[in-house]
Symmetry: C2
Subunit: 390 residues, 2 copies
């Protein structure tokens, strides 16, 4: 096991009607003037924003609003948010929505406390040292941003998608009410499920040996997703299933499932080119890329793939031919994701074979560079993975 | 799933030599004058205390020391610690040791910030609102106090063992170096293993349905313990196995394994009478009580006992007779604990049948009162459980 640190200081309030406690939590965590940050009109139409505002009014906490966060949150709105916070002396940001609203709030929170251009954090020119405190009210189980210290923002000039991270970005509280996810359409729900499972896969396939506790915690999250996901596709208002998935989504990404070992996020990078080029949901792209990546790297550690096949997918170990078991696990994953309505290849996603060279170039590996660590991938490897996904 | 809150704000630094960073963490979390609190001479003999002090000196952080914490930490030393902290203007407590040292430090931390008698917190007269910040350097994987907000103290007058809890008692940082547990003798190691597993059992046997994620996380910790425990009994210096157990011990008790549902801590209460009367290790008493409790309550939810038998112990489900599977799981637990050198009955523990009525009375249930929730236990039930453990 590698040395590690683990820090997940967020106060989680989970369950029915917990959004009505937002004002109390802001008060407890020191907020006196709040920016409420959200995406489109759904939080208004659903009445969620009204309930949140009512809870702030009960606590007599003044606020300003900034809506309009887009699915891949943009730098333009972040600049706007930073200006607004400074002008209004905001000292607390409340994100209401999914990962995009939370990521945008995190970028604003860091930018307010920084004298330079906030994009410095995203292109490696500066490290985030401090940020305004953030609270979240989650409406989509997917990104895990409610419990993480990470944010991903797209810069409009050039459409660069970049990430930044700091413990200062971990929300001070996150409110998770599974009822708020009832209205999410089946396809978006399935994309969230793929994202959650991908967050675990990216931590599971590692070259660090003997971290049984982390393996088992990963498998716990995956097994839960396997059991609960079909229920919410069938019945979007299944509270218990929505609740299990929502909490699993947090556990999948606050890094409890990753401590003590090397991680490999190359599939996320390979997918980003798909969602950037075709404007498809990140989760849908992951459903296409992950099985292909798995098939390509499987022989590097057959036993690890056999382990997940047996422990998560319930395959019977073929001791005479472990590779068959490993491959069966990958096929079960494909069948599972397909059953949820997710695409599994370029055709189903609407991606084109002829764009592969462009996507490979766009990842930007320099001569001799590789991507990832489980199996370091060259440009040639990446191209083969895209082709396996055709 | 029941509504819940989850809050585990401790910064965990895990791995080899991490104790040398104690001074840096105290500095980061605001300590300027420290009480170093520990038990017997082992932390001195091993050189651990010297290394910790060296790390404080590097950061130029002044400190005072208070050793002498006993296995069931006593109120007398807590009073002494409170006085010392006040006299020396201590603003940070560093506990070096196992659960006893940490629990004693927590009681001192709460007492310093309270004008009344600290015991008020333990007999229900007051609630802990604030406490000095606490850091820990863990040397025994067992109690989980390094990640919890709980403390158990024994009052010398009458030898009452009582608990108190507050989020204010959660350590601001905990340093976990598995190497520090190498010297723990096999029997104490096994007692710690039983304690860790018991912390999960007490959360696993619940009447709240459909909390698959919490079930799976519980099973993850238990499966890890089943795989790793025999290794440390055979080779006390097995770093990887010690590391898995140490981290599993934290995960078992910071309440991640318990959220969203009713818990049942009656076995802990029933055991306390054994360790109080015979001065045996808590973990040894748990190894005696838990299988008896399981056999007594099993019929209340055969499927739940069958589930743990299949998922943790690898039993094959007997669909024609699930009760047989459930019972096989309990037998596997007994065989497992016995193989680690733990006692399984009164005789092996050194407890006496004739003391049973005294122990039942001592639990102190009033007429009509019951203990626990999975199956509420009357005095008669508790007596039968003790007799099943003969």
């Amino acid at each position: 096991m590698n040395n590690f640190t683990f820090y997940s200081p967020t106060y989680f309030a989970f369950g029915r009607q917990t959004e009505n406690e937002a004002g109390q939590y802001i008060r407890r965590f020191g907020g006196t003037k709040v920016l409420i940050h959200y995406g489109g009109g759904s939080v208004k139409r659903s009445g969620l924003l009204d309930r949140v505002i009512a809870s702030l009014k009960t606590e007599k906490i003044p606020y300003v609003e900034l809506g309009g966060v887009m699915p891949n949150p943009r730098s333009g709105l972040v600049y706007e948010g930073i200006e607004l916070c400074k002008k209004e002396d905001v000292d607390f940001i409340l994100a209401v929505g999914g990962g995009s609203s939370i990521d945008s709030a995190k970028a604003i929170a860091a930018g307010v406390k920084y004298s330079g251009d906030f994009w410095d954090f995203f292109d490696g020119k500066a490290e985030i040292q401090q940020a305004l405190p953030i609270g979240t009210i989650l409406t989509i189980a997917a990104a895990g941003s409610e419990g993480s210290g990470d944010t991903v923002i797209t810069k409009e000039e050039g459409m660069y998608k970049r990430g930044a991270g700091s413990d200062a970005l971990r929300p001070v509280f996150s409110i998770l009410n599974p009822e708020l996810t009832f209205t999410l359409p089946p396809f978006q729900t399935a994309c969230g499920i793929a994202d959650i499972m991908a967050h675990v896969f990216e931590r599971y396939f590692t070259n660090t040996k003997d971290v049984e506790i982390t393996d088992r915690l990963c498998e716990a999250v995956l097994s839960t997703m396997v059991r609960e996901s079909p229920k919410v596709i069938k019945n979007p208002s299944d509270y218990e299933a929505r609740a299990n998935i929502m909490w699993a989504g947090m556990v999948a990404h606050n890094n409890l499932c990753g401590v003590g070992r090397e991680q490999d996020w190359s599939s996320h990078v390979i997918e980003h080119e798909l969602s950037a080029l075709y404007d498809v949901a990140h989760g849908a792209g992951l459903a296409v890329i992950f099985p292909a990546w798995m098939k390509y790297v499987m022989k590097h550690d057959i036993n690890r793939f056999a382990q997940i096949a047996v422990r998560v997918w319930g395959c019977t170990m073929d001791f005479a031919n472990p590779e068959a078991t490993a491959m069966e696990g990958i096929h079960r994953l494909e069948t599972f994701w397909s059953s949820l309505g997710l695409p599994l290849n370029f055709a189903e996603l609407g991606a084109k074979e002829e764009d592969i060279p462009f996507m490979v170039r766009n990842i930007g590996l320099k001569e001799g560079e590789t991507l990832g660590s489980f199996v370091p991938l060259s440009n040639e490897d990446i191209e083969k993975i895209y082709r396996l996904a055709l």
